[in-house]
Amino acid sequence: MNRTAPPPPVDAEDRRLIKAMQGGLPLVPRPYHALAETLGLAPEETMARLRRMLADGIIRRIGAVPNHYRLGYTANGMTVWDVADDAVAAAGSAVGALAFVSHCYQRPRHLPLWPYNLFAMVHGRSRDEVERRVAEIAELLDDRSRAHAVLYSTRILKKTGLRLAD
């Protein structure tokens, strides 16, 4: 299989910059200057590259990445819904707009084992709180949802975030 890939949106210097930032931004007064020095780039160029990647959505944001569990959000429910394929776009937009939903995606079914095609992640400080939110989603979807389930996470087995292979 030989598919034509679109040109990469980042060049070699961008990738070096991304790799240098994967573990986080230096916690020093001039973090972008510190990165620039490490990489042998001009600070202005480093910042221009970051601004461009933010504008292009390659970097979603720069800021705090909370550890839900340590912050008291110990109930982490992946809610999954079986919605007719022709209704899933409207349903997904409505569910994604709820303030307590952090991610909302359509994914493929794996029948007969897995009939669900709409995924919405709900975080709460307790399972009661998540259940109340699941009930809100159920009410919003009404008869558009034929079945649903909530999969609570019981343990984090790994969490490293995206890493580019060397």
């Binding site: 994967q22 931004l25 959505g57 340590r70 997904g92």
Partner: protein, 149 residues
């Protein structure tokens, strides 16, 4: 974690709260009514204590030209730890969660080279002898993890 820490975590999840500038911590601190050195010290402590996974950029793997998928497996309880180690040994596995469902292991595979995702799933199936259910994103309706603390 005190009230100032909470204000910092709440504010600095906002996409526009932290600038690209010569003194970004100073600017973010000013908006929060803090000193630059205090903000840096508090972020350092919250990272060291594990309240923050990290402070820095969140990348979009797909816009980077890479690929991401979510995969699920039904793992027999008596083999759970062994299988978790086999899955986690792959550097492309970014997150892995145990969940209470017959499909009890859910992990995200992210690779800078989109052609790498399928071989990683195949290798995990081979190494564990278990079916790996690939559930790639077909449509994204919302992503904006933001926790009020």
């Amino acid at each position: 974690m005190d009230d100032i820490d909470r204000r910092i975590v709440n504010a600095l999840q906002d996409p526009d709260a932290f600038p690209v500038s010569e003194r970004p911590y100073a600017e973010a601190a000013r908006a929060l009514g803090l000193e630059e050195a205090d903000l840096i010290a508090r972020l350092r402590r919250m990272c060291a204590d594990g309240l923050l996974s990290r402070f820095g950029p969140l990348f979009d793997a797909e816009r980077l030209g890479g690929a991401v998928t979510l995969a699920a497996m039904s793992v027999p309880e008596d083999r759970f730890e062994v299988v978790a180690d086999l899955v986690n040994a792959h550097p492309e596995v970014a997150h892995n969660y145990a969940r209470d469902h017959p499909l009890n292991m859910w992990f995200v595979v992210a690779a800078a080279d989109p052609e790498r995702v399928r071989p990683v799933l195949d290798a995990i199936a081979q190494e564990t002898g278990l079916s790996v259910h690939d559930m790639p994103k077909l449509e994204e309706f919302y992503i904006g993890l933001r926790l009020a603390v």
